[in-house]
């Protein structure tokens, strides 16, 4: 129990230190840090609209954060979140906007198809690792590039609204039946039921890891593959399966962007931002715990959303939040340094 508390302290401490350093930079820019942080906070959390914005921005990051932590439990670094998000989004847009059959063009069916697409896409890397020992970091990065280029192709040719000669690289909007329910329509922020799905995913991931045979085997493989092999666990299968599940989680994040109405229900260029990569930071800051992923996704989203309000209301550029993020990630990555300092202190006491 004490250790868990200590584990939680480090991310909190990292955020705190980042805010202090950020305050120094803001002060150096000639602004009042308190004033800037006031707008950063209110912009992210005060008022229905702010909350809707923040949670909307957090939703895909929860999914990609879960994706990274799921693979990590199996001992793998899933750097391929971006590609998986893109593939999930493209399938959602393609089926949602082009398939007329009402039975298929249904938001649940589309989510399942997106998830399967993400599974298949990530499982390529999983299969390569399990069968040929190709390192997943390399293969998932390469799959990202393939997905990004495929995205360009798809948006400019087969899925382009108005055909290849259409006005801009984006798909037509998905049909009504393929859209996710809006949760706060009065805010006009597209905050949708995808957030609830993300929370459900958090619970499912937690349940798999803590209660099921699969989770037990995944953790065994992640911690000690040679022991797992001796215990009769099918290590290659678990490896490929875990990466596949990780991929489907990220893909759901992509589907939410399209079906939730962030871009008027179309897939347009740049809509996937860097959510796949954000997942790495989210999982890292969340200490690879599902609930931690929710909290850190909301934190990163709040920084971005609040950053815009800060820029609007003060002379502090919103890029300052990128610095804050970077400092947080650095500090978390340097966790061992922290621990060493903490321990050193104790020894000298």
């Amino acid at each position: 129990m004490k250790n868990k508390l200590k584990d939680m302290m480090i991310p909190v401490l990292a955020v705190f230190i980042a805010l202090i350093i950020g305050a120094g930079i803001i002060g150096y820019l000639g602004e009042s840090p308190l004033n800037a942080y006031y707008y950063l906070f209110t912009g992210a959390f005060v008022g229905q609209r702010a909350i809707a914005r923040t949670l909307l921005e957090a939703t895909p990051m929860i999914f990609t954060g879960l994706s990274v932590l799921f693979a990590f439990k199996a001992g793998m670094f899933n750097i391929g979140g971006q590609g998986q998000v893109i593939m999930g989004g493209l399938i959602a847009a393609a089926v949602g906007a082009f398939v007329h059959n009402a039975g298929v063009n249904n938001v649940f069916i589309i989510l399942i198809l997106s998830g399967l697409a993400g599974f298949a896409w990530a499982a390529i890397a999983g299969f390569l690792k399990a069968k040929l020992g190709v390192h997943e970091v390399i293969s998932t990065i390469m799959l990202n590039y393939i997905a990004m280029n495929f995205e360009q192709y798809a948006l400019n040719y087969p899925l382009k609204a108005g055909g290849p000669s259409g006005p801009s690289p984006q798909t037509p909007p998905v049909f009504e039946s393929a859209r996710l329910m809006q949760l706060m329509p009065q805010t006009r922020e597209a905050f949708n039921i995808g957030f609830i799905l993300a929370i459900v995913a958090v619970i499912v991931v937690w349940f798999i890891m803590e209660k099921t045979i699969l989770g037990y085997e995944i953790k065994a493989v992640g911690n000690n593959p040679t022991s797992a092999e001796n215990a009769g666990i099918n290590v290659p299968w678990i490896t490929a399966l875990s990466l596949g599940i990780a991929g489907s989680l990220a893909a759901l994040g992509g589907a939410e962007r399209i079906l939730g109405g962030v871009g008027q229900y179309t897939y347009r260029q740049g809509i996937m931002a860097s959510y796949g990569f954000d997942g790495i930071a989210v999982a890292l800051l969340g200490k690879n715990h599902p609930v931690g992923a929710v909290l850190s996704a909301i934190l990163f989203a709040a920084l971005r959303v609040g950053g815009r309000s800060m820029q609007f209301n003060t002379s502090v550029p919103s890029q300052i939040v990128i610095i804050l993020q970077a400092i947080i990630i650095l500090l978390i990555a340097a966790e061992n340094m922290f621990k060493m300092i903490l321990n050193r202190k104790k020894v000298s006491e």
């Binding site: 209660k211 045979i213 911690n223 022991s227 009769g232 666990i233 104790k346």
Partner: protein
């Protein structure tokens, strides 16, 4: 002027701000020209004390005197300057360089800018002749036997001017013949005026070689006596803190039919080189077959092939008419093979898991599932409690991390889990590695109980005494081949040693 070359007085070393006490007020006095043994169980604090002597750790309190003068040893370099040299269990040699090159590494004689190799070779000859360490200065380290490599280590520290030599478990990697030669070398060193400290947990060896013995238990020096007054029982008593039985009574068991039969087994290692070369043996019900041999003679690959972890190139393994080769580890387990791996961290357990989860490991699907998807944690906890009681695993706390148990208790968890599996044949590798003397006794008892139950037992161990103690027959491996199978009654250390080195026994 003191007659002691080294005195360590009231050494205390704590970690984590006093939470862990590794050395608790240890006083060690080493006379000039003696062979002083330091014995103690794993984790008793021997290594910490030696690291302090070598300057790798600094004591929390206490003083070190060398030749009667108080010294503060800041690092290994300084220790070497004082004349303290260490021969580690794991050698610190560059395998691609020659003996001479290794010896002068770090203090190379130079001719202009280049290494003066001739001077180095002369030095090797001079030093090795002086101490009776016959060795070829031009031999490449990787071509040398382990015993020879150890000599190079000794040579290295002598060359750097060591007067006090510290040997850390020096016989762990040697065959019996090499051990005898090492004893001779130690005698030569003493004759030349050197002093020796050696660390060991092998009681026989301590009795054979030392002049004085210091026993360390839980960070304290609990006993100190001349070897003349020592017996195995007395040392073990001091090490464990209670009387220890040595020879576990071997039960008389009527051996049944042949249960396991291995024929012409051929297995390659990771490098694609043949590691198990046409091995044949069989084991009957109620029989313990021991496999002796220097580590790395193919034992690991043999076990991995038998348990399905490694593909065999050729041959057959049959358990009660069922062929095992080519099956997955899971299927082989279900056929009735239990396996206590040689390296519990690599093969047997997940350190990050709790004790409860490790008890279930490998039988989680068969024994502890609620349905196809869910684990029955309540049952796991209940059984874990029961096993901890039955096999005396301490502390009796099912949620403690496996990695935090002592070596002996970790091994008991693994042993318990494997013995409780449905099985006819059990493979036990290095049953007491990293296990303290107190637990060795109970683990040996468990192995012998398997014999009583009529199981076929294969014991692989690097500890010859353990093999001699447990086995009904002893197969000796060398270079992947079984060089001989002896009945326990005919087996002597001498004979096994010859076979371990790849020699042949005269027909007689």
């Amino acid at each position: 002027m003191s007659e002691y070359i080294l005195e360590m007085k009231n050494i205390r070393k704590t970690f984590l701000g006093g939470k862990v006490v590794a050395n608790d007020d240890i006083t060690l006095k080493i006379e000039k020209g003696e062979k002083h043994a330091i014995v103690g169980e794993n984790g008793a604090g021997k290594s910490t004390l030696m690291k302090i002597l070598n300057g790798l750790y600094h004591p929390t309190s206490g003083e070190v005197y060398y030749h009667g003068k108080g010294v503060k040893i800041e690092g290994p370099g300084e220790a070497a300057k004082l004349g303290i040299g260490m021969v580690y269990q794991h050698f610190m040699l560059v395998p691609t360089l020659s003996v001479a090159e290794n010896m002068v590494l770090g203090v190379e004689p130079k001719k202009g800018l280049s290494l003066d190799i001739n001077t180095a070779r002369e030095e090797v000859k001079r030093v090795s002749e002086k101490y009776g360490l016959a060795i070829d200065p031009d031999a490449i380290i990787s071509d040398l036997s382990v015993g020879m490599q150890q000599r190079v280590e000794i040579l290295k520290i002598l060359f750097k001017g060591a007067n006090l030599l510290v040997f850390d478990e020096p016989t762990a990697v040697l065959i019996p013949q090499e051990v005898k030669e090492l004893y001779k070398i130690m005698d030569n060193l003493i004759a030349e005026g050197k002093t020796i400290i050696f660390i060991s947990h092998k009681l026989q060896e301590v009795l054979d070689i030392s002049d004085n013995i210091t026993v360390i238990r839980r960070g304290k020096d609990v006993a100190n006596f001349p070897t003349e007054e020592a017996t195995k029982e007395k040392i073990a008593n001091a090490m464990v803190g209670r009387p220890v039985l040595f020879t576990t009574e071997k039960p008389e068991v009527e051996m049944g039919r042949e249960l396991v039969s291995v024929n012409n087994l051929l297995v390659k290692n990771n490098k694609g080189i043949i590691a198990v070369d046409e091995v044949n043996f069989d084991i009957r019900e109620g029989e313990i077959l021991g496999i002796a041999g220097v580590e790395g003679s193919g034992q690991t690959e043999l076990i991995e092939a038998l348990t399905g972890l490694r593909k065999a190139e050729a041959g057959t393994v049959v358990l009660e008419g069922e062929a095992l080769l080519g099956k997955t580890p899971k299927k082989i387990t279900l056929e009735g093979v239990a396996h206590i791996p040689e390296d519990r961290f690599k093969r047997a357990a997940v350190s990050e898991f709790s004790v409860r989860d490790n008890f279930a490991f490998g039988v989680h699907k068969e024994k502890y599932s609620k349905n196809k998807f869910m684990l029955n944690f309540a049952k796991m906890a209940e059984e874990a409690k029961h096993f901890m009681e039955k096999y005396d695993v301490r502390p009796r706390e099912i949620n403690v991390g496996f990695g935090r148990l002592s070596g002996g208790n970790q091994q008991k968890v693994i042993v318990a889990r494997e013995l409780e599996k449905e099985h006819k044949f059990i493979i036990i590798a290095q049953p007491t590695r990293g296990v303290d003397i107190g637990a060795i006794e109970s683990i040996h008892k468990m192995v012998l109980e398997e014999k009583e139950k009529g199981k076929a037992v294969l014991v692989v161990s690097a500890e010859l005494s353990e093999i001699m103690n447990l086995s009904d027959r002893i197969a000796v491996m060398c270079g992947g081949k079984i060089t001989g199978i002896l009945d326990r009654a005919d087996a002597t250390e001498e004979k096994i040693g010859i076979l371990m080195a790849g020699g042949k026994l005269d027909e007689k």
